[in-house]
Symmetry: C2
Subunit: 346 residues, 2 copies
DNA sequence: AGATGTGACTTAAACGTTTAAGTAAAACCA
DNA sequence: TGGTTTTACTTAAACGTTTAAGTCACATCT
C-alpha cells in the first residue's frame, strides 16, 4: 500500500540511494550493469521520483505558474495554448489558474503559486492587481514575472503588449480604403483620467489618427462605449444607429462586442456589409464562423504565449539580476466579408 | 537575497520553529502574546510558508490535477470553470494541463501530475489513453481519478457522463413536435466495431429511437458523418443536401459541427429554420450568438465540473478503499430560433 | 506539602530527494 | 614496485516544513 520511494529501489537493486538517483537523473558515471539493475528495479516496483522532494532539495520546480483573467475566453485560451506548447518542449510544466475576472481570486492564486515555489509567473490579462504584484516583488527574493496584455508599471516585470494604436489605425485605414466615409467606433470602458494610456485604451487614438489623416470626422458623435462584453456591443450599436447621422461602417474595439453589434444589426434587418460594414479586434476563432465572417485585427495569440515562455526562460537563466523587457507586437488585418465595400461584395 | 524560512521567523520572534508552525497553522494552544510576536515577525520578514516542504511532510498537496483534451474548446473551459470554483471554495488548487488532442501529451501530463503528488486527478474529455491510466492504477498506491465525458472501463475510476442517447432522443422529438418529417443526422466519426458504445456514439441511437417511435425514416439515407470539428459540419451538410431527397431538419451531434452546417446553409442561400431547421448538442456559449441562435442540448457543464470535485473529495476522504461511481447527467433542450417550425417562426 | 495535572512551549525526527565529500578498489605511470 | 589518478560507487547532510514526544514552570487538589 505504501508509496514506493528511492529507498525501495535502492534496497531491491542492492545499491545506495545515491546511485539510484544518479541513474534516474542520467548521470554519466554509472556502469551499464548497475544502471540495468537499477532500471529493472524501477520498472518492477513502478517507481516514480517524487517531484515534491526533488523540488525541495533542488530549489526549482521545473514549472511555471500562470494566472488568466478568464479561462473561458477564447482569446486567452489561444495564448495559453502557445505558452503550454513552448513549456512542454522544454519539459517544464504549467500550473494554470483561472481568476474569473475577480481580483481577490487572482491575488490568491498569485500567493499560492509563489508558495508553490514555481520558477516563474505569467500573468495573462487583467487578473492580478498591480499593488499585490508590487508587494510580492518587494520581497527579499522573487521569481521573474511576465505579463501578457497587461501593462504593469513595475520595473521587475516584463510586459508583452500589442500595439493597439497601430492596430486601430490599420483597421480604420482599411475601412477608409474600402470607400467608407462615416466610420464610427465602439470603444471599451472610459479609461480613468490618464491612468490607462496603454493597451486597449489606445485603440481610440488609432481610430482618430486614421480619420484625421483622411480628413474624415472623428469626434464623439461617432463614438460609443461598451464593456468589452457581447451584450454591450449590441446596445452600443443600437445607440449609434439612433444618432442623427447613421455611420456606414463601425470599428469595434474587440470581437465579442463586434459579434454583439452584428446581432443587433441582424435584429434590425440591416445587412452587413451592404448597409453597414464592421471590423473587430482580436480574431477570436468564432470571428471566422459567424455570418458574415468578421474582418478583424488578428492578435498574435500563440506567439504571445510562446514569447512569454521565451522571456521567462531567459529571465530564469539570468538569475535575480535579470532585466525586464517590454515588447510590443503588431496585430494583423484579416479581411473577411463583413468589411468589403458594397460594390465589391455585391 | 536568500528566501525567508520558518527558521528566520523563529529567530526573529525568539521562539522555536514549532511555535511558528503552530501560529501559521492556527493551532489553538499559542498565547495571544506569542502569536502576536510571531505574526509581527512574519509580516516584517514577508514570510510565506513553503508549500513544497509542507507537502513533503504532510503527504498531501491540497491540490488536484486536471488534464483536458483541448483547452481552447469552450465546452471544456466551462467545465474547468465549474471545477475551479468548487476547488477554490475549499482552498484547494488546480493544476491544469492541456493535451491538445495528443495522447502522448496527455499521458506525459498524467505522469507529471502523479510525480507532483496531487491528491486526485480529473480527466476531461479524451485526453489520456485507457492503457496509460490502467498502468498507473496498477501501482501499489494511487490517488483517486474521475473522468468527465470519457468512459473508462476501469474499476477504480469514477466516470461522469451525459446521457447522450436520451439527449439525442429529446432533440429529435423536439424536431418531430415542431412538425418536421425528414430529419437527418450529422454524426461524429464512425465508432470502432462495438468499442465505443458510450458517450457521443450513443447519440445515433437516440436519434433512431425517436424517429422509429414516430414512424419516420431513420436509415443511412439520412445520416452523414463528421469529425466533431467545424469544417466537417459544413461538408456533411453539403453532402446531405446533395442526396435525392432533401431533409427539412437536421440534428447535429455537436455545436461546432452545427455551426459549420449553418455556414454551409448560409453559403447556399438557404434560410434557417424556414428552409431547414437545425439542432445542435453541447450548448457552447457561441450557440446563442450566431444568427439565427442555435437550438441545442445544453450540457450541464459547470455542474459536471463541480460534481467532479465533489466525487473526488469524497474519494480522497474515503482513502484508498474508495469505491468509484458512475454518474449520468441529463442534457437539457434549449429552444432557440434555429429549430422553430416555419409557421411559428414566420 | 506532595502528588497530579495543565498550559505553553521546545526538541528532534521525519518526509523523499540531491549532492558534496569520502572511500576502496582498480588502473596507470615511472 | 610504490605512488598517483581514475572509476564506481557510498555516506550523510541538507532542503523547509510538521508533529509526536519531551520538558518545565505553574496551578490545583487532597
Amino acid at each position: 500500500m505504501a508509496k514506493v520511494t528511492i529507498k525501495d529501489v535502492a534496497a531491491r537493486s542492492g545499491v545506495s540511494v545515491a546511485t539510484v538517483s544518479a541513474v534516474v537523473n542520467e548521470a554519466d558515471w554509472v556502469t551499464d550493469a548497475t544502471r540495468a539493475r537499477v532500471q529493472r528495479a524501477v520498472a518492477e516496483l513502478g517507481y516514480r521520483p517524487n517531484r515534491v522532494a526533488r523540488s525541495l532539495k533542488t530549489q526549482r520546480a521545473d514549472a511555471v505558474g500562470a494566472i488568466v483573467s478568464d479561462v473561458t475566453n477564447p482569446f486567452f485560451t489561444e495564448i495559453i495554448r502557445g505558452l503550454s506548447h513552448a513549456l512542454q518542449e522544454r519539459g517544464r510544466n504549467l500550473f494554470l489558474c483561472d481568476a474569473d475576472h475577480r481580483f481577490e481570486l487572482g491575488d490568491a492564486h498569485l500567493e499560492m503559486l509563489i508558495e508553490q515555489q514555481v520558477d516563474g509567473l505569467v500573468i495573462i490579462g487583467d487578473s492580478v492587481r498591480e499593488a499585490s504584484l508590487q508587494s510580492y516583488l518587494r520581497r527579499r527574493s522573487h521569481v521573474p514575472v511576465v505579463a501578457i496584455e497587461r501593462d504593469y508599471d513595475l520595473p521587475d516585470v516584463s510586459c508583452l503588449l500589442v500595439d493597439s494604436e497601430q492596430g486601430a489605425y490599420v483597421a480604420t485605414r482599411h475601412l477608409i480604403e474600402q470607400g467608407f466615409e462615416r466610420i464610427a467606433y465602439i470603444a471599451g470602458p472610459q479609461e480613468g483620467a490618464g491612468s490607462l494610456t496603454y493597451g486597449r485604451a489606445m485603440r481610440t487614438a488609432g481610430w482618430r489618427r486614421a480619420l484625421a489623416e483622411a480628413g474624415l470626422p472623428n469626434d464623439d458623435e461617432w463614438l460609443a462605449r461598451g464593456t468589452f462584453r457581447y451584450e454591450s456591443g449590441a446596445s452600443a450599436m443600437r445607440d449609434l444607429l439612433s444618432r442623427p447621422v447613421r455611420p456606414d461602417a463601425v470599428f469595434v474595439a474587440n470581437d465579442m462586442m463586434a459579434l454583439g453589434a452584428m446581432h443587433a444589426l441582424h435584429e434590425m434587418g440591416l445587412r452587413i456589409p451592404d448597409d453597414l460594414a464592421l471590423v473587430g479586434f482580436d480574431d477570436i476563432p468564432v470571428a471566422a464562423l459567424v455570418a458574415p465572417p468578421l474582418t478583424t485585427m488578428a492578435m498574435p495569440k500563440r506567439r504571445l504565449g510562446r514569447a512569454a515562455h521565451d522571456v521567462l526562460r531567459a529571465h530564469i537563466a539570468d538569475g535575480p539580476g535579470y532585466t525586464a523587457v517590454r515588447r510590443t507586437f503588431e496585430a494583423d488585418l484579416v479581411v473577411r466579408a463583413s468589411s468589403l465595400a458594397a460594390t465589391l461584395a455585391g
